[in-house]
């Protein structure tokens, strides 16, 4: 059972009032990041990422499919995630719940609205065949802020992706060949998440902080420093100024994270 004890809540709040965090970090410190690329050989791209102790395995599978009718000359990039119970005693089997769906969608939007991948380059034959890049995120350990961990794992797996060449016979289905080229990718979008606890706003909340947070704001910053997507979560409000400040902080912090990416 994952309940928040009063003792934990008081401890976190008391520390925040002194400008401290329960794990000793500063308000703008992201936990250490560790990245392992290409571990899964059957995936066209893969990355295992640790954000502190939170741990996500991302894998990419490539398929050939029909483009969406409104974008006949663009390939498709779809992100999904699953909170399988290996990652936390509180995750349950069954159809994806709110948390799992939100995670997929927030990471998906960050990547979808980024200009890192040029979708027209994923078009094989307009209106008929395009590359489908299917990014799946599996959480291996939930120690808080899965959104940012999944976002880093996702873009790293894309970065690792080898696009198979395609053979389209006169009749029959398109076939993926052994021959590959790297998936072209510009500076990737990264999602940064702030937690609001009382009146303090901190980046990259750990599990304990997440349990007591009142609200959360995720901001995806694209490779060109523009904002690619946002998501506010929780019933507590942010002020206008707080949101503006978060964007500014995210812009600074994202640069530090970029230097750690492959």
């Amino acid at each position: 059972m994952d309940i928040v004890t009063e003792i934990e809540r008081e401890q976190i709040l008391a520390l925040l009032r002194e400008g401290k965090r329960i794990d000793g970090r500063g308000f703008d410190d992201v936990r250490p990041i560790k990245i392992k690329l290409g571990h899964i050989t059957k995936a066209e791209g893969s990355a295992e990422v640790w954000l502190g102790k939170s741990r996500v395995l991302a894998g990419v599978k490539i398929q050939v499919g029909k483009p969406f009718p409104d974008t006949p000359n663009e390939g498709v990039v779809i992100t999904s995630s699953e909170l399988f119970p290996i990652a936390s005693p509180t995750f349950e089997l069954g159809p994806p719940d709110e948390q799992s769906i939100e995670l997929s969608r927030v990471v998906d939007r960050g990547i979808r609205h980024s200009s890192a991948i040029n979708r027209t380059e994923l078009c094989i034959k307009e209106g008929e065949h395009v590359y489908m890049v299917l990014l799946d995120l599996y959480i291996l350990a939930d120690h808080g802020n899965l959104i940012d961990a999944a976002s880093i794992a996702g873009v790293c797996a894309l970065k690792d992706t080898k696009l198979p060449k395609i053979n389209i016979p006169e009749s029959g289905e398109a076939e993926l060949l052994e021959d590959t080229t790297p998936l072209k990718m510009g500076p990737p979008p990264l999602t940064l998440t702030f937690a609001k606890i009382g009146s303090s706003i901190i980046i990259d909340p750990n599990l304990a902080e997440e349990k007591v947070m009142d609200a959360r704001l995720s901001i995806a910053i694209d490779g060109d420093d523009s904002i690619a997507s946002m998501q506010k979560w929780g019933t507590s409000p942010f002020t206008r100024q707080e949101v503006i400040d978060c964007v500014e902080r995210a812009n600074k912090i994202v640069k530090k994270i970029r230097t750690q990416l492959p």
């Binding site: 004890t5 009063e6 003792i7 934990e8 401890q11």
Partner: protein, 236 residues
């Protein structure tokens, strides 16, 4: 009759420990005159009893154990505690309040213990066929406020307490920190923040090295070194 281990050997489930006329204790079982380990742990023999002190495992409630639990539900006639065990504990009003308080309490039990609050309790009944019953009536029992909570692997609690409390008393006297250890692996600490941090580190060390000997001395050395370090910082 033969023994297949040395005292304190670490053994794995299914490992043959002894053959012949022996008894089995915790962590061991007998099949056709042979004693095997059923858990990973330290194999031991006392008299004719062969047993294994487990290194991992969930806490299973036993009567008279002191535990620390968190209130997860307030019911009509008491409280439900989560205490990291396969079974939630029942704390009925009659075992939490005096008779006089109990008669007045019916209207609002949350006034006494609310969801999310932490209590030290003693198990009074636990037979695994129904949820264990606990009491908070007694010295040292009841709500704890402030401080910090830690979780350790419950099977390593005996090591944190030590022979007749030697380890835990050493921690308390060296560091002047209040510590309550629940048999279920939840530990509550309160005191000076810097010294509490040392205590937490020491507890982690005890947990990690529970299966080793000479631990009390190593922990004492660690604490002394840390205290000297802190005093040094103060004097600078």
């Amino acid at each position: 009759m033969s023994i297949h281990f040395e005292q304190q050997d670490i053994v794995v489930p299914g490992q043959l420990l002894a053959e012949g006329d022996y008894h089995t204790g915790e962590g061991a079982y007998m099949e056709q005159e042979k004693v095997y380990a059923s858990v990973i742990g330290l194999a031991k023999m006392k008299g004719k009893t062969v047993y294994v002190v487990p290194l991992k495992g969930q806490y299973v409630p036993k009567p008279r154990d002191i535990i620390i639990g968190n209130v997860v539900e307030v019911t009509l006639n008491g409280w439900l505690l989560d205490f990291h065990s396969p079974y939630p504990a029942m704390l009925p009003v009659m075992h939490a309040l005096s008779r006089r308080d109990a008669t007045h309490a019916k209207d609002n039990l949350r006034r006494y213990y609310d969801v999310g609050e932490t209590v030290v309790a003693e198990i009074i009944a636990a037979d695994r066929t129904r949820d264990p019953l606990v009491t908070t009536l007694g010295r040292g029992l009841g709500k704890v406020r402030g401080g910090v909570l830690m979780n350790i692997i419950p099977t390593r609690v005996p090591r944190l307490i030590g022979r007749k409390g030697s380890m835990i008393n050493m921690l308390k006297s060296e560091l002047q920190v209040d510590i309550v250890v629940g048999q279920n692996g939840i530990v509550w600490l309160k005191g000076n923040p810097a010294r509490m941090e040392i205590a937490q580190e020491a507890i982690r060390q005890i947990e990690r090295e529970a299966h080793t000997s000479g631990l009390t001395d190593r922990v004492r050395d660690f604490i002394t070194a840390k205290l000297t370090e802190q005093n040094g910082e103060k004097n600078e």
